[in-house]
Symmetry: C2
């Protein structure tokens, strides 16, 4: 099965000086990303500091996006929490809003977890929200719990039509390739735009990338350039931005670059446990921002 | 400084067949533990499946205990969540109820975290709830985030009188010994009753142990026997129970033993991501229960 390559963006969550969610800036930055051409928003991912937000905050912020006119059909909010009732509440809310789907972490406190435990956890959510469109979120180096190929297969088989895709944030291309090869019918996303060409060539669905917060236009150029003479130049640009972002603590770094691009330092604020960039790192963020700005076509 | 050795119990959280919190059984099992002689309850610990409960469920369950007449001064509820506003809400609630203190995990999604990040996380909670009596919870193998000696020292120095103690669930006695030696003024608990004699001899404050759910009477006997001719026998009994519990997946195992002792299978139920014991493991739980029952004095 061939998937049209897509870019979904794990949008940053801006905070006010009192560290409450800054809904106005959240909506504004989400709009900016869509204006840059992204296919949609995977809000409340790791880059979004979603696990640092309460359920109430996440529901209110998602409602705010939809109230502001953003089409729920382009949203894949993260809903996986440590606590099952929280995951169910967020999944039910997002599904009820008509979101394209939800991107669901496994429960991430207890570890190690057996495949049986992870299966039971996803099954309990699906039992509670049977119409969920489920995108699995594999990020074992942070969550401490991963999603094995047999587990993914068991979920697809047990709940036909429910599992729509997977984001592989392991950084291990061999694993992504195995997921695509094993389950060509689901949309498998890489977590870095540097892997976009190989992901799409293998039958994947594109990427959901932190650095897309600041370079959605560049990544969309790459998607359009795939298989053309422009591909190498487009890939070089996105890879340069990606490498610059990865040279900093990724999430505060992306927020700092976003702040520079939006000309508003408020976008750089992080909530604990994340810590702000140092002065040196902020200078590096400025260079990354320049990489985005100067390579964008001035039309 | 000498601390009177104490036993606090990370009480199990019973669930109804629909996996909601079974408040009546929660209250009953907490009462049973106090009747067995425990000094208090560290409800909402790892053994309590606290991170599998919503904030609303945790607040309601704590209120239920106090409403049932359990003295808040003997309660040290766990309040540490991945999300800062959740930790603040639970800490404020427990502090407002007059609890002895709160046992606080660091935020446990993002990892690795620097000491700076963990410090900022605790500081943000203390800033929001300045009268909190804080017990730090070190369980790096589960949380994925640990509490270093310099971090503990920095918190004690920055917030005089706030840090009252620490539970070391690392299982590494050398670390516990270093905490006690470095900070003799705070109450440092081990996570296993097998370590009680060495903990108390070093100047620690006792233990907060999963298996105390089913053997509080035995552990209290050990505390009373410390330094007497009865110590070795008391230690042998608690160690036998502990070893039996550790031979199973610990939390479902302790719940199964509790169910057998309470003669009520409902106590054995777990919430995903934990999975029930197998048949073989349940037989093992029965043996562990027998170890508790048969060695309790029939008076």
């Amino acid at each position: 099965m061939t998937h049209t390559p897509r870019l979904y963006v794990p949008a940053i969550t801006p905070f006010a000086p009192d560290l409450s969610v800054d809904t106005a800036r959240f909506t504004a930055s989400c709009r900016r990303i869509l204006d840059d051409g992204a296919d949609g928003l995977a809000v409340f991912g790791t880059t979004s500091e979603a696990t640092s937000l309460s359920v109430t905050e996440r529901i209110a912020a998602l409602d705010a996006l939809v109230d502001a006119g953003i089409d729920p059909a382009c949203l894949i909010p993260g809903t996986g929490c440590a606590a099952l009732p929280d995951t169910v509440a967020l999944t039910r809310h997002a599904t009820g809003l008509g979101c394209k789907g939800v991107l669901m972490l496994p429960p991430f406190y207890y570890k190690p977890l057996s495949d049986e435990a992870v299966f039971a956890s996803y099954a309990a959510v699906i039992d509670s929200v049977p119409d969920v469109a489920l995108y699995l979120y594999h990020i074992p180096q942070i969550a401490g719990v991963g999603l094995s190929i047999p587990l993914i297969g068991r979920l697809i088989e047990a709940f036909p039509g429910t599992v729509r895709g997977l984001k592989d944030s392991s950084g291990k291309w061999d694993n992504t390739a195995a997921v695509i090869a094993s389950f060509p019918g689901i949309e498998t996303f890489s977590s870095s735009e540097s892997l976009l060409p190989v992901n799409v060539a293998a039958g994947g669905a594109g990427c959901i990338s932190a650095s897309a917060n600041v370079n959605a236009a560049g990544i969309m150029r790459l998607i359009r350039a795939l298989g053309t003479a422009d591909e190498a130049a487009a890939l070089a640009q996105v890879s340069a931005v990606r490498t610059a972002c990865e040279g900093m603590p990724l999430i505060p770094g992306v927020k700092a670059v976003a702040a520079i691009r939006m000309a508003d330092p408020n976008y750089a604020r992080v909530r604990p446990p994340l810590v702000p960039l140092t002065q040196d790192q902020t200078a590096q963020a400025a260079r990354a921002a320049a990489l985005c700005l100067w390579q964008e076509p001035v039309s």
